[in-house]
């Protein structure tokens, strides 16, 4: 026994490399195609061709069946689509209903881009990974590389390979078949004798890299789980602390210590001129002193100051602002203005106040049905108080807002606001019309008994 052992150790020579198949080399793609067809017709299926450029028809010549990859990708794409739809339906329709500009919950047209992206994402990953998997890649070595002639496959030679695992493989008959198509060389492909294990260095190196990659994550976890008294760490110090002043800060540059500068006496800023024009205000600033002396000083400065004034205690909300309102519309009551007012009213006001002004717009109805106490019912424009208000005050309500109602100055020009006031007046009058308001020709037939009916229409 010992003798035998000794013997085998001493004579351990590298065993002869195993043969893996035959590799034929051709000068051009026509010869290759011709050879491939012959090999295919002989029934071999474990074959492959290597060419410096894509050769049309090679798949057919080799008898390669169309890949099933497209179907796998189709399934992945559909999975992505369903995932996206399910996710959005769950998130926005069930789990966390979030109102985004009044859009419906769940799946909406806005879900399509995300669904599209996920479909593409799933498909793209599947086609790359599926392609690798179907090709048995990545592979760190391939026996075909053992032949130095094979290097020219990326340059100017065409190769046809028949693998020994083919079920009809027979060393001699394959050699005969291939030499019958006159290759410029025919070699047996030998097993790759180089060691197949990963070199130690690479293994260690990648292990270290993985560990190093965990460090940032560990630091983040540690910081989240611990407390610290140290001040915040500023990565970009000069961005966090810029040499500039913000409103309401103090400064040493100016004597009064204010960083916000008051208007220089005798100058007019852009847009300020309109502050003296009743057309833009709804009241006459020159007459404020006659109504409310102390207010005069503020009003002559800027209109915005008015907003900061508290209404006198005890007054009722609507008429508290005691100002010299314009009583007469500064725009003409013609058809164009009425039309403009109607369009703008229906665009901007009807949602809350309703088309007829009763405060029963869609938003108001929906808010009422939700019954949340944060909602203030829009005032009916036919309420006594609003009826009695001078036109200037309604203009002011639109321009500056009133109570819970916001300002519409940014969406409507003064001209449009006045037209709305005109239209509101028309609405009010239409609800409280007297027989004298009806043209004489149309009065007949409008008896007192019918009046309430026509009112309600």
């Amino acid at each position: 026994m010992s003798h035998n052992d000794h013997n085998s150790k001493a004579t351990k020579e590298p065993r002869p490399p195993k043969a893996c198949g035959w590799m034929a080399e051709f000068e051009n793609e026509h010869d290759l195609l011709h050879a491939a067809e012959k090999v295919r017709d002989a029934g071999y299926t474990k074959t492959d061709a290597f060419t410096p450029f894509p050769v049309h028809g090679i798949d057919h010549a080799l008898g390669i069946k169309p890949t099933i990859l497209p179907f796998i990708v189709l399934c992945a794409g559909l999975t992505g689509l369903c995932t996206a739809l399910l996710m959005q339906w769950w998130m926005n329709g069930v789990d966390y209903k979030y109102i985004i500009s009044g859009k419906p919950f769940g799946i909406t047209p806005a879900s399509i881009p995300v669904s599209f992206e996920l479909t593409i994402l799933f498909s793209a990953f599947t086609s790359v990974l599926g392609m690798l998997a179907l090709n048995g890649l990545p592979k760190f070595s391939n026996p075909v590389f053992t032949n130095p002639k094979f290097d020219r496959a990326t340059d100017d030679r065409f190769f046809l390979y028949v693998d020994s695992t083919d079920k009809y493989y027979n060393r001699e008959s394959v050699r005969e078949l291939l030499s019958s198509v006159h290759p410029s060389s025919l070699d047996e492909v030998l097993e790759d004798a180089s060691p197949s294990e990963l070199p130690r260095g690479i293994l260690l190196g990648s292990l270290l890299l993985v560990l190093a990659g965990l460090i940032p994550a560990a630091i983040v976890l540690n910081m989240r789980a611990s407390f610290s008294d140290l001040p915040r760490w500023h990565v970009f110090f000069d961005m966090d602390f810029q040499p500039k002043k913000k409103p309401q800060q103090t400064t040493t540059i100016f004597k009064d210590g204010r960083s916000m500068r008051p208007q220089v006496p005798g100058t007019v800023s852009r847009g300020q001129l309109t502050n003296e024009d009743p057309f833009y205000l709804g009241y006459d600033p020159m007459k404020v002193s006659s109504v409310d002396g102390p207010r005069q000083i503020y009003v002559s400065a800027t209109d915005t100051v008015l907003e900061t004034l508290q209404p006198p205690a005890g007054g009722d909300g609507g008429t508290a602002l005691n100002l010299p309102w314009l009583e007469k519309l500064p725009v003409e009551a013609n058809e164009a203005n009425i039309k403009l007012g109607k369009t703008k009213y229906e665009t901007y006001c009807s949602a809350c106040h309703g088309y007829a002004g009763f405060g029963d717009g869609l938003v108001a109805k929906r808010a009422a049905s939700l019954a949340q106490d944060t909602w203030t019912t829009p005032t009916s424009l036919h309420a006594d108080r609003v009826q009695k208000q001078p036109v200037g005050q309604i203009f002011h309500t639109i321009s500056k807002g009133q109570g819970k109602m916001a300002s519409y100055a940014s969406s409507l020009t003064p001209q449009e606001r006045w037209s709305i006031v005109l239209y509101v007046r028309a609405l009010q009058r239409s609800r409280n019309a007297k027989i004298e308001d009806v043209p004489v020709e149309q009065r007949s037939g409008l008896t007192d008994a019918q009046a309430p009916k026509t009112d309600g229409q």
Binding site: I64, P109, I112
Partner: protein, 412 residues
């Protein structure tokens, strides 16, 4: 071997008569118009019948016009990309493109309607009836006036005819001399022409179709019309090539590979149309501003909603799934079926763009509209035949022809 590329196979089949097809088209258009007149119209101002007829004509005109423009664009793309594969099918596209001067004549009825002061199909043409300040502004700066509208329309046709003439002319001259210079000249100008094409088609779409509803605007509208036209163009190409081969022509020149590629293009533009149509919809849906959404609102009531919703499966989902497989695109019958499908849905699409502005959907009038559309398509094909009677169906001396004849798609 000589018989394979026989010169006889690159002529139109003797039985294909332009005059017969043209007469048939005229008869169909006439029947369609009569049905349109017999609809029970409601509406004020312009008579509802006339309103329907002129809208119907415009929709059917756009239906064929976009196909011819698709042909022009296809030619431009072939030269900008120096494509070889398409050489053997290119002449058919060239002939389709060369119908543009004829189509200019078919546009005349629209101009007549505008110059006779009608407020249909273009409401802006009667400024006193316009209430919208947006439209008024467009009239006031002089953009939407009959003079400028006419000048622009003439300009579009002028540019397209000039481009078509240049590309067709060089192609025909090459038929004689085989000189490669003709290819080089076209390659040189294809790039600039594409820019002119993009702008002119976009503006033509704005002027002719979008301005029906001049209040509304969509900057992507031109692309939408373009995408629709490209899809229909490839469908038309497929049908014509199939028909020619069935009549025994160009069999050696157009292979399954070419059909496969035209099918791919058609598939691609089905997708592109959907992408553009949806992009347009999504922004308006999200913004939800009355003056922007009403264009869709008009198309989602009075019976038009069935058409609008039907376009989603008919113009996108079904043909998308139908043509996604290469096996279908390489199958003669399969491809023919989907090409015919694409042409019909393109007609539906143009109807969707134009007809809702003519009032509520009316069944009889729509049947008339459809027959008229079939008639216009027949007229369009007869114009193609007029052109094709004078030229071989394959550019035999094009230096890139051999490339097209040996062309093959890689097997996936």
């Amino acid at each position: 071997m000589t018989s394979k590329y026989d010169l006889e196979t690159i002529e139109l089949p003797a039985k294909w008569k332009a005059s017969t097809l043209f007469t048939l088209g005229l008869i169909l258009v006439f029947i369609g118009a009569v049905l349109g007149i017999f609809m029970k119209g409601q509406g004020s101002g312009e008579s509802a019948e006339f309103k329907h007829l002129i809208h119907s004509y415009l929709a059917n005109f756009m239906f064929i016009m976009t196909i011819a423009l698709g042909a022009l664009f296809f030619i431009l793309i072939q030269f900008v990309s120096r494509a070889g594969w398409s050489t053997s099918i290119r002449r058919i596209a060239e002939l389709l493109m060369w119908t543009i001067p004829f189509l200019a004549v078919l546009f005349v009825p629209i101009l007549v309607a505008v110059w006779s002061g009608r407020s249909v199909p273009y409401e802006w043409n009667a400024p006193e009836q316009v209430h919208s300040s947006v439209v008024k502004a467009k009239i006031d700066i002089g953009y939407l006036t009959k003079e400028w509208f006419t000048i622009r329309s003439v300009l579009y046709f002028g540019l397209w005819t000039a481009m078509a003439w240049f590309f067709y002319g060089h192609s025909r001259k090459q038929d004689e001399s085989g000189d490669v210079e003709h290819s080089l000249a076209r390659q040189k100008w294809a790039g600039p022409c594409i820019m002119i094409f993009a702008l002119s088609v976009s503006f033509a779409a704005f002027d002719w179709v979008m301005s029906i509803d001049a209040d509304w605007y969509s900057t992507i509208f031109g692309v939408y019309v373009f995408a629709a036209g490209m899809m229909a163009f490839f469908a038309t190409m497929i049908l014509i090539s199939m028909a020619l081969q069935n009549a025994g022509k160009v069999r050696a020149f157009i292979s399954v590979e070419h059909f496969h590629d035209m099918g791919k293009f058609m598939f691609g533009f089905i997708m592109f149309w959907s992408y553009i149509a949806f992009s347009q919809l999504l922004l308006y849906w999200y913004g939800n501003i009355p003056e922007e959404t009403y264009w869709f609102a008009v198309r989602l009531k009075d019976g038009w909603q069935y058409l609008a919703y039907a376009l989603i499966p008919l113009h996108f989902a079904i043909p998308f799934l139908g043509t996604i497989s290469r096996h279908v695109r390489r199958h003669r019958l399969g491809l023919t079926f989907w090409a015919a499908w694409a042409i019909v849905v393109h007609w539906l699409d143009m109807t969707f763009l134009v007809m809702p502005n003519a009032g509520p959907a009316n069944f009889i009038a729509l049947v008339g509209h459809f027959i008229g559309g079939a008639g216009m398509f027949a007229i369009f094909l007869s114009l193609f035949l007029v052109r094709a009677a004078k030229a071989p169906l394959v550019p035999m001396k094009d230096p890139r022809l051999p490339e097209a004849l040996t062309y093959a798609n890689p097997l996936l």
